[in-house]
Each structure stands twice: as C-alpha cells, then as structure tokens.
Amino acid sequence: MKADKNKIKIDCFKINCFCDKAEYGEASYEERDAIERHVLKCPTCREYNNKTRKLSRLLERSKRNMLNKDERSKLKQRIKKALG
C-alpha cells in the first residue's frame, strides 16, 4: 500500500512537471495525453494545472515591464563605457 502511495506521489510530481513544460509549449503529445488522463482522476494535479496556467498569465502580463537579457547586457555595457 505504501509503495502505491509513493508511486502516486512520483506520478503526480512527474505530471506537474509536464504541466509546466506544456506552459512553454514544449510538452510532447504523450506528455500532454498523460496530463489529460491524470487530471481527470486527480483533483490535486487538476488544481496544480490551473494554478500553473494562472501563473503563466501573470508572467505574460508582467513581461511587458521587464528588461530582456539583451537590454540588460546593453545597460551593463553603457555603464562600463561611462566608467571608461
């Protein structure tokens, strides 16, 4: 019984990682299928899937107000240059 519980935990963790991967559009067909089948029977993972989607929307909203790597590196160069 204990082994089953552990297996479920490991499965849930794996599914949660797939959910995140899907948010970046990088989950394979098999991984997306595994998410769909798993969340039907697992409310905890269903909740996680909704949560991670919500987080993606928040991140997307905030990205407009963030500097990307290029902009940060230009900023560093500008400072370096000004310092001589």
């Binding site: 963790f13 949660n16 990682c17 995140d20 991967k21 970046y24 990088e26 949560k51 991670t52 987080l55 928040l58 991140l59 909203r61 905030s62 990205k63 407009r64 107000n65 963030m66 500097l67 990307n68 790597k69 902009e71 940060r72 230009k74 900023l75 560093k76 500008r78 400072i79 000004a82 310092l83």
Partner: protein, 185 residues
C-alpha cells in the same frame, strides 16, 4: 543593539535591480527607451556617489531614491504638467546627492490602474524571484523571461532537459506561493 549596516555591490546592480527599477519607471514615464536611460543614469549616479552611502537603507531603497530624483529631473526637463502631477516629491535643487538618497521611498503615481497593477506585479515577481533558490531563479529567468531555448539553458547551466523541467517546476511552485502571500492577497 547595533543596527545592521547595508553594503553596496555595484557589480550586481544590473542583474539584481534593473527589472525592479524598470517596473518602477515604466509606469511613470510610459516609454521603454526613456525608462532604460533613466535606469542607466541612476546606476551611474549611484556609482558616482557611492561614498555618500551610509548603509542605513538597503541597496535597492537607495537606488530607488536616486531613480526618483532622475524621474523628477526628467519631468522638469520636458516641463510636463503630467509629470508634475505624477511625481509628488519636492526636493530642494541644491541638495547634495547622498543626503536625500536614503529616504524611505513612498510610491506616488497617477498612472492608469492597469499600468500600475502590471508594474506592481512585475516588482512582486522580481522580489519573489529574489527569495527563491538563486540557481533556480536564474534558470527560471533565462527560460521564462528571456525565452531561451531549452537546449541553450541546459548548456549554460550544464544540466539535462529533465533536470531543467524539475528546476522550472520547483521555481514555479515557489514563485506561486510567494506571489500568493505577497501580491495576490
């Protein structure tokens, strides 16, 4: 009891504070290029007057104080009524940089609710990323904010793709928890 003195680490300013300062600025000047210029000027002014830093405020509070002054100067320069309304602070012209810098910064602003919310959200995300495992935060930023390919991130951090997704998962869980505590509520 002795009060903890804060120190300055200029080498890390761009990585640690540029997004926070950018969020603060963009909702006030509403122009990406101007915001970047103001942040750049802020860092330069900080470097120039770092000897005046007394260590009473945190590094970030000190930089925000300088930035606030830069925003005021910018609005003075363009003589904008909007700017006068937005930045409700009044410093005396001949004040020495370094004396006013360590004041606690109160948020003032009259930008639209959406802009302000996005800006606050951005600052909350930045703060939360500062509280999670630094390696996880770096990997998360590179993948999520800078949108690098998985292969590039894995190469940069010498990790496998499955390792990357575990780290991304842990970072997202930690970030969600932190945002729930500090922003969503």
């Amino acid at each position: 009891m002795a009060v903890k003195k804060h120190l300055l680490f200029p080498d890390t300013w761009v990585d640690r504070y540029s997004n926070y300062l950018f969020n603060y600025t963009i909702s006030r000047v509403n122009d990406r290029e101007i915001a970047k210029d103001l942040i750049s000027e802020t860092f330069l002014a900080g470097l120039k007057s770092k000897d005046n830093f007394k260590g009473e405020a945190t590094e970030r509070t000190w930089l925000i104080s300088i930035l606030k002054r830069k925003i005021i100067d910018y609005y003075r320069k363009i003589n904008s009524q909007k700017g006068k309304a937005e930045v409700k602070m009044n410093y005396v012209d001949n004040e020495q940089e370094g004396d006013w810098m360590e004041e606690r910064v109160a948020d003032a602003g009259e930008s639209t609710v959406g802009d302000l919310e996005n800006s606050e959200l951005g600052m909350a995300i930045d703060e939360c990323l500062g509280q999670i495992n630094p390696r996880h935060a770096e990997i998360f930023k590179m993948k999520t904010i800078d949108e690098f390919d998985t292969e590039v991130v894995c190469k940069e951090f010498d990790i496998s793709p499955s390792n990357l997704w575990v780290i991304i998962h842990r970072a997202r869980v930690a970030l969600s928890k932190c945002l729930k505590k500090n922003w969503l509520n």
